[in-house]
């Protein structure tokens, strides 16, 4: 049986291509530095910024983030693949995540996932041909009291029934948050860093 060897010696990133991360994204990442004792600690928010800007985190993006944070690229790779929230391949404009933990499962998440698959015409981990939606599952969305729950981009939807799926998909605002996002991910650029509440500051 053929068992091919994965080549890890050759680079997959194109070193001659123009940089992926814009100066704005880099500036945003750098604005996180003062919150933490080490630059490494800014990795998670930095990856969120990159994912928001590019849609997903490619090899090249990992490498560039590593350069900005001055940490080894292998550690960025390590972290990106650990968290299911980070995507390593292109995805649609909106990502639908169906919870697959035990509470949601008991409350009908399995049937719900099938309904999404049917309506979108794609399987788990896939993206619709028009690039509008990607479908995924995740272990627990911490909404067991609203099971079965679904996440569309960053907006949570609780007690979703299979019948709700068409309406949910038809709603253009199904991913709009009612409350502003944490300041951790959206620092206001140019503002004096010392006057802003420091999200990452240690207590005590």
């Amino acid at each position: 049986m053929a068992w091919p060897t994965i080549d890890r010696q050759s680079p997959v990133t194109d070193s001659d291509a123009p940089p992926l991360l814009s100066d704005e994204v880099k500036a945003k990442i750098r604005s996180f530095f003062e919150r933490y004792e080490t630059r490494r600690a800014a990795l998670l928010p930095a990856l969120h910024v990159v994912q928001e800007s590019l849609g997903y985190i490619s090899w090249r993006a990992m490498d560039e983030v590593a350069t900005v944070l001055d940490i080894p690229a292998s550690e960025v790779f390590d972290v990106v693949t650990f968290y299911t929230h980070y995507w390593t391949k292109p995805r649609g404009k909106k990502t639908i995540v169906v919870c697959r933990s035990i509470t949601c499962e008991l409350m009908g998440a399995g049937v719900l996932l099938e309904a999404f698959k049917r309506h979108l015409g794609v399987g788990e981990g896939e993206t619709t041909p028009d690039g509008a939606y990607s479908l995924a599952t995740e272990e627990c969305l911490a909404q067991c009291d609203h099971a079965p729950c679904v996440l569309i981009n960053e907006k949570k939807h609780g007690r979703v029934k299979p019948d709700d799926v068409p309406a949910l998909l038809a709603d253009p605002d199904n991913d709009k948050l009612e409350v502003p996002r944490s300041d951790l991910y959206d620092p206001v650029l140019g503002e004096d860093a010392t006057t802003r509440p420091r999200g990452g500051e240690r207590k005590g």
Binding site: W3, P4, T5, R8, T13
Partner: protein, 540 residues
């Protein structure tokens, strides 16, 4: 020294170690994958779990804890009571082994690690003979992670020793653990291959057959290999190594634990630097040139020829016209025997230390560390015994010259005969030196490979590689470390020590230890030999 109780037996142990280390040192056989004394403790493999006595939550004395505790993470403390010989501990070991083997391909017949694999050893000693896994095995890919190393992910037990090595010892952070849970894999960032100067150690660290050395891959089953204690001649650090050989052929070098010198590690330069010993171009028999005729004298006649020719030179030119160029590649014993012999014939013979190869930069690891943070050093001096030979020259006394001055004076005709020792794996004869040698009437060249000196020498004697000799090297810090002979010299050649021993007037077989004892009578320093401690029962 704290005293702890393991399985009802009182054990006195070193301060500041963990219960696992104490148990291993006291002779217990405790399975462990993630624990390595040279790396940080992660307590992730769950194989070394033990039962420990703790204060009873109900009050009133101690009782066995209901949960198992990782012995690799518990520091020893006076009065600590633990046990490994209990049903609960043994059950845990069996279950963990079963989990680790769930997706293991069981391809031992084609795996290089077979025979020195801790999965095999622990399965036999602590595991169940059968698996209850009925589902199809998950097959992780094979990865080409570096120019010298392959990763068979399907055999990996995720102990992360290799990852911690690249983070804590080399500081190069090449390896990482990707994905999560049952999908965990060891990997490198594509294009940033595992290519640091110490990377070979990850193969030694790997307790299973996941990380394999491309150089050794499918070359030899490990149970055929004979393991000999040696010292790496690659630089003046003097790492303790094992030479693994079979039927007179070296297959690989492995580091030996040697605290304060190389600890558990060695560099790639040394690890793969032995190939010259099996080079087809090596000089393997003595050569004599008499009036344009070249012949191979029998070994028996060599002492006679040397003696007669040297005496002729001394008679014609005087006893101060003889020189010996010693090599920093020689063992202390060989240098001592040669000096002893030459001074017995020519009492005024000049002692010269040959060129000391200096290459590259001092490399300290972790990269960028200094002072106490340094865990491993590769030195610039690419020879094992400059200090040893220098000591012998200094202690012997009499006329000595530096190599440069010797070249100048010999070119000017100050010498008539010389014994020149090479033994360098790389070409070493400079133009000046070749010119100086050209002025001499009688030259004995002792070397590994043909060069400008062996081309013109009256008598050429084959030198041997370090694994074909025995003796001792004095490292950069003055530590005298003995090494044993792993393989025989090539057919037709004789060990350097052996023919120098015979020249010096001794009969019988040369032994490094016996010569060292004689040397110690003259030079007290040579009684202070430092051997690396023996390997523990369960190799790390």
């Amino acid at each position: 020294m704290p005293k702890i109780e393991i399985d009802g037996i009182e054990v006195e142990c070193r301060d500041g170690i963990t219960v696992l280390q104490a148990a291993l040192e006291a002779g217990w056989s405790v399975p462990h994958y993630c624990y390595h004394p040279g790396l940080s403790v992660v307590a992730s493999c769950r194989l070394c779990l033990m039962e420990m006595q703790m204060p009873s939550p109900k009050g009133g004395g101690m009782e066995w804890s209901s949960k198992l505790v990782p012995s690799c993470q518990v520091p020893v403390k006076n009065g600590l009571v633990v046990r490994f010989a209990s049903d609960q501990v043994k059950r845990n070991q069996r279950r963990v082994m079963e989990f680790l083997l769930l997706n293991h391909p069981l391809d031992c017949p084609v795996c290089d690690q077979a025979g020195e694999c801790l999965l095999q050893d622990y399965s036999y000693e602590f595991g169940d003979p059968t698996s209850r896994m009925r589902d199809e095995k998950h097959k992780s890919p094979k990865k080409d992670i570096g120019p010298r190393t392959l990763l068979y992910s399907d055999r990996c037990v995720l102990c992360t020793r290799c990852v911690r090595f690249t983070r804590e010892i080399t500081g190069t952070h090449d390896l990482c653990v990707t994905h999560r849970g049952s999908e965990n894999e060891i990997d490198v960032f594509p294009g940033k291959a595992l290519d640091n100067p110490l990377q070979g150690n990850v193969v030694d660290l790997c307790p299973v057959g996941a990380l394999l050395d491309k150089d050794f891959l499918f070359k030899q089953r490990v149970w055929f290999l004979k393991r000999t204690k040696s010292i790496c001649p690659g630089c003046s650090t003097g790492c303790a190594v094992s030479v693994d050989s079979n039927e007179g052929v070296v297959y690989r070098l492995k580091p030996r634990y040697n605290p304060g010198v190389n600890d558990w590690w060695m560099c790639d330069e040394g690890r793969f630097g032995w190939k010259y010993m099996h080079d087809a171009n090596r000089i393997t028999a003595p050569v004599i040139r008499r009036g344009g005729v070249t012949g191979t004298p029998p070994w028996d006649s060599v002492p006679e020829i040397v003696d007669a020719r040297l005496r002729a030179v001394i008679e014609a030119h005087g006893p101060d016209k003889v020189a010996v160029v010693l090599s920093p590649m020689m063992a202390c014993e060989e240098a001592w025997l040669l000096v002893r012999f030459l001074r017995s014939v020519a009492s005024e013979a000049t002692l010269v230390l040959g060129p000391v190869p200096i290459q590259g930069q001092l490399q300290m690891f972790p990269v960028g560390s200094t002072g106490d943070a340094v865990r491993f050093t590769i030195r610039r001096e690419k020879c094992p015994n400059r200090r040893g030979v220098e000591t012998i020259i200094a202690e012997t006394g009499g006329p000595t010259l530096s190599f440069e001055v010797f070249c100048e004076q010999a070119t000017a005709g100050a010498f008539a005969a010389a014994w020149i020792v090479g033994g360098y794996p790389e070409p070493w004869v400079t133009k000046d030196f070749a010119k100086a040698v050209g002025q001499l009437e009688f030259v004995v060249a002792q070397d590994l490979f043909p060069n400008e000196v062996t081309e013109v020498a009256t008598l050429v004697l084959p030198a041997c590689g370090f694994a074909q000799r025995e003796g001792s090297f004095m490292n950069f810090g003055g530590r005298i470390q003995p090494f044993d002979r792993a393989i025989a010299p090539p057919d037709g050649a004789k060990g350097d020590g052996q023919y120098l021993y015979e020249l010096a007037g001794f009969t019988g077989l040369y032994s490094g230890r016996a010569v060292r004892e004689m040397m110690a009578q003259e030079i007290h320093l040579f009684s202070m030999v430092k051997e690396a401690p023996p390997m523990p029962v369960h190799q790390h």
